[in-house]
Symmetry: D3
Subunit: 260 residues, 6 copies
């Protein structure tokens, strides 16, 4: 029974690793449409895989993935109009994070890394962390460090240049497009079928949101940009970037720890 | 891309199956101590496996498992005193169910089966269903059917007699004991190591709860009853019972549907 | 003005008893159908009577009874289908307990005994206690002891054998049946009229819940088991069992107090 | 089994009376200091007694009394500084009302009368009603009428003149004073002991609130005005006023009903 | 950049004034109908103007005004039946106050003055303060003083006698009447047009509330009493009263500070 | 009494304009540090000014500005470390929007435009809209259109090129920098003092968040990018862009209305 996954260990093993100072990684994702050519679990698979790799290299543990994310929005994920997307409200999502962080803190975990794979989770993840700090008491949180990563921010510019020789369209439009497709081809190729991709993007969004009816600009496929040129090799480049850099940051933050 | 798991499909496949009336199974579990001899994911692994089997036989889909459960209690799961157990508050747990059920309903799912693997989830699962019905509007829920199973209630008495020739100690005490251990040996044998079991049960609980300090009666191992005699074969009997009977009930309920 | 009931005393008397270390008993019940032959207040009357007796013998006080309980469910109380049953949501119920416990703690009460008479209150009572401990701060709760009783768990096996020579059907099915009817005949005989009982039980429930429409298996009378053989004498046996044993447990817990 | 108290009836009796259009009265009170000379249950006893009388005269039913009220404030009830006062937060109180009203509405009650005995409950009672209407749906509430009374507003000016020949000090200062003391002497004389009254009022409050420490102006006894001159006879006058006038208003409102 | 308004200063100026012990004033109002002759912002304009004057005289700062108030009620503000009134729920209003007070406390503000201009805000303002104290921790609030004023309570009796030689009708009925109209004529004369006043008051309310349909007694104009005789001069008297007295109280409370 | 500000009108004027189909603009901002050279109200002043201009050109009304925003974060606004910033929790902020939208809908407003000036409000604004739609009922929202703008997204690329000949640093880093400073110089020049600017940016943020202690990368001034080159003239260009384009979008959306 050797695993970096918290839930695949018996409690005495978790106790021992926590006592040894293992940081705990929490992957937060979503179940959200990612085009006709990919499964709905993209936003959960990617951060889980990253957490697994970084936890392995820094001696950490990976808590169970949150597979339900905050309400998908048309301009960043296609929105609720697509079948298959399963949304939590922002309040529920934030409370899950609050509860999990508080419970990790209660059992003496003081190094927590939240790795997010779903754009709409950014705000509620921050709120969940803040609510946990409110609940723990900020005056009692001196020795606690929580880092929060959106994995796509760790891709190096030179890698983006290699992948997008004509210019990076930006993360919002990258939904279900080359970056995510390549990562999935590297991680779970059986969940990608490029032959089903319908090249109806990129989306030309108006610069505002519209409710309750979704705007007409979402491409029917749900792919906001393009899938052409996706490959497992490119996925490997991305994964390497994120893993290496996150490992560096985590090591640096947790080594200096309370000294900052 | 063929799977009974909702999140392993692209959205058009989910759309098509939902349109065809596929019932959706939602496994709800926990990350909770289950003795020195088993991983913490027992309560998530078992209902997920059951859902997978029943969904396959009735043409259903399995939504992502909730791997975080409601606060473990000493008399039924060892309680918060054990490292590794990760608890949600009852309110958060109920809101997750409310949100997921509402979102399934929004996309026209009308047959939902919640399969629970964690004793302390019973109440909050019911509350989550009730809150969803409150939110949807009971006058607008006429064509909706939600079934809620605690998997251990489907084991046939004759199977319990076979497994416990000296009498069944009851589900509360069965925590991390022969039933769950056998099921895990059948499903994920690599997560069980009987040689680590410490035979310090069964627990003799006083007939009341005590807060905030846990009562002294919880066995140090976290096993509330006994693990001796667990086997993958017995796990297979249990799995067969639950799968067969749940399939029958689901078919019967959803065939007669609105006619009741 | 001598009373064990907190609310029947002027404030200086409460102050004095609390200063003397009086434990505070909080009866939590429901307003729920209990068959055609009994009033709706069974789940409130019984724990109140028990609290009164135990408080008298241990020098305690009884806080006002919560007469509204958490949502009645078909398999354990008949469910919302019966007129007369008045339900709180689980969240509201838990918050009442949280507020009352916090306010008792604020005025230096450190010994609290919650006595429950309604099956569906179990989970939300636990949640209310946990929320109170969260609000007080677990690090500030060292000298606080909260005990939580479901009164039926204190009946001695020998008494059940005397009452049910053919075997005890279990507490869930006991709703509005011999135990509760006998207790009411001992406590409030004017609220029982056995001649109105309709012997349509015991219920044969399927091993799962069904929403939103209640399952067909609830007997029309609302009595889940049987009322035949109920008597005030048997009620007296039950009351004696529960009172004696609760007094013992309370004395034992509160004597050793912080020493555990 | 004849009673105006909802909870003292079996469910078929409640069903029948509700079907006959019986209005349901909900007494809401508090457990709050009322001077050295009276029990803490004044605010619960008085509205319950009024509801009982009016329900009897109009063929109504009385739901179980809410014995816990919203946070007592120094200028209107002595505030949290007095031992014995047990407070709910405003949010919890409002949710109780919301839940009870929704559940009454669910079982076809369309005439609800809330009778309040605790000054600080006014706002949260209104909020509870509004939340219930939000939950039911205002477009679905056309045939529902909810009346909300603060009992002291029904005392006739001529009765106040009789009781206070030197001028009425106003309801806020009347806390635990002549009106409430007289009513309790009429209703529950065993819970009043005028010999214990300490004549340290009336309070001279500054025209503002101060937190978190209570202002110094609260008289040590907790009586905000005066108790001298209280009598059961005066209590009878007050009770007669309120009962007669509430009966008239209820009859008038519910007769014309939807016609307004 | 010299201003008493917190939000009109750069952060270093706020930092400096807070360090110097400046009390912070928080005006809380509403957007609510105030008759045909006045703008909807009366309840926000008046407390803001008072805060500005008192802050100037005591060296304080004025935080941004809450322009949305708690649900207007028919007997005290016309109720939701009038177009233009924008209501928050009581829970939302209380949480705003909780959040703002907690955030002021976090940045070392220890003297807070809440000045209210809307009758229905009284209860939720108190709740917001109490929730903030709950969140901060009452044991950590020793050096914090929060004062809460309803501005109309500071008008001197002799001024009321001058304005109402025939007797003061009481604050509830004063809604949109002589007091508020005169204050607005003194503060924002361009937002008052007496020629549009319709003299259809004073309202003769029944002594109870009625839901969901508003009672018929609200005068069509929304003026609960009378506007005749309003003048800027009278507004000046009122403003002087409130400003002078609030300044005195604030000085007195904050000078003696923790010594009480 | 002519104004585009909802709260500066008497209720009959609001009623009339709403009946005529006036869209309602809701400016949402914050009270947040914006460098040593500007007041804290930047995020409230700018959207209010934009709403005023657009409302005037399309015949709309401007509801009272929300001057308190969601928790400022280090990477986008300096974070809670700066004195003067006053934060609401995300939950409170979302509930304000929910309440205001529901109340506008209740009084028949069917065209709502939310204009946001604070980066951290994006998520909670969306959540507030979604919660309002949940509360209203999506099946009852067919004729409702809500548009949500972040004002900086409407600046034309050619204007950014003119202002930033060396390239636009992106909106996150633009906090308190040239765009906001120029807009404030155009709108409220008395609240800007460029001589106080400390040129310590631009910030070089690490690509992740860190809690509870703010990261060291925030420039001491709170200006995330640069203020050099700010001017009222540039502010005028920006204001023109946003006003013209928002007017076009609003007209287009609300003309075609339900036809989309």
């Amino acid at each position: 029974m050797d695993s970096v996954f918290w839930a695949e260990l018996p409690w005495p093993d978790v106790e021992q690793r926590v006592a040894a100072g293992a940081p705990v990684f929490l992957p937060v994702g979503a179940t959200e449409q990612h085009g006709r050519h990919m499964a709905l679990n993209v936003d959960a698979v990617i951060p889980t895989a990253i957490c697994e790799r970084v936890a392995r290299s820094v001696g950490g543990l990976v808590a169970p993935t949150l597979a339900y994310g905050t309400r998908s929005q048309p301009r960043t994920g296609g929105g609720p109009g697509f079948p298959g997307t399963l949304n939590l409200t922002a309040g529920t999502f934030a409370m899950i994070l609050r509860d999990v962080i508080c419970d990790l803190h209660r059992q003496n975990v003081r190094r927590i890394v939240i790795v997010n794979g779903h754009y709409e989770n950014i705000g509620p993840s921050i709120e969940g962390i803040e609510l946990a700090l409110d609940a723990i008491g900020r005056h009692r949180s001196e020795d606690l460090i929580i880092l929060r990563f959106d994995h796509w921010e760790l891709v190096r510019p030179e890698t983006l240049d290699r992948i997008f020789p004509d210019g990076y369209p930006g993360i919002e439009l990258e939904h279900a497009s080359v970056l995510e497709t390549s990562l999935m081809m590297a991680l779970r190729p059986e969940l990608v079928d490029l032959s089903r991709a319908r090249h109806d993007g990129p989306a030309q969004f108006r610069p505002y949101d519209r409710y309750p009816r979704p705007p007409v600009e979402v491409p029917p496929s749900g792919v906001l940009s393009l899938t052409e040129g996706s490959s497992a090799e490119k996925g490997g480049w991305l994964l390497a970037d994120v893993t290496v850099r996150m490992t560096e940051y985590v090591n640096e933050e947790f080594e200096r720890g309370d000294k900052r």
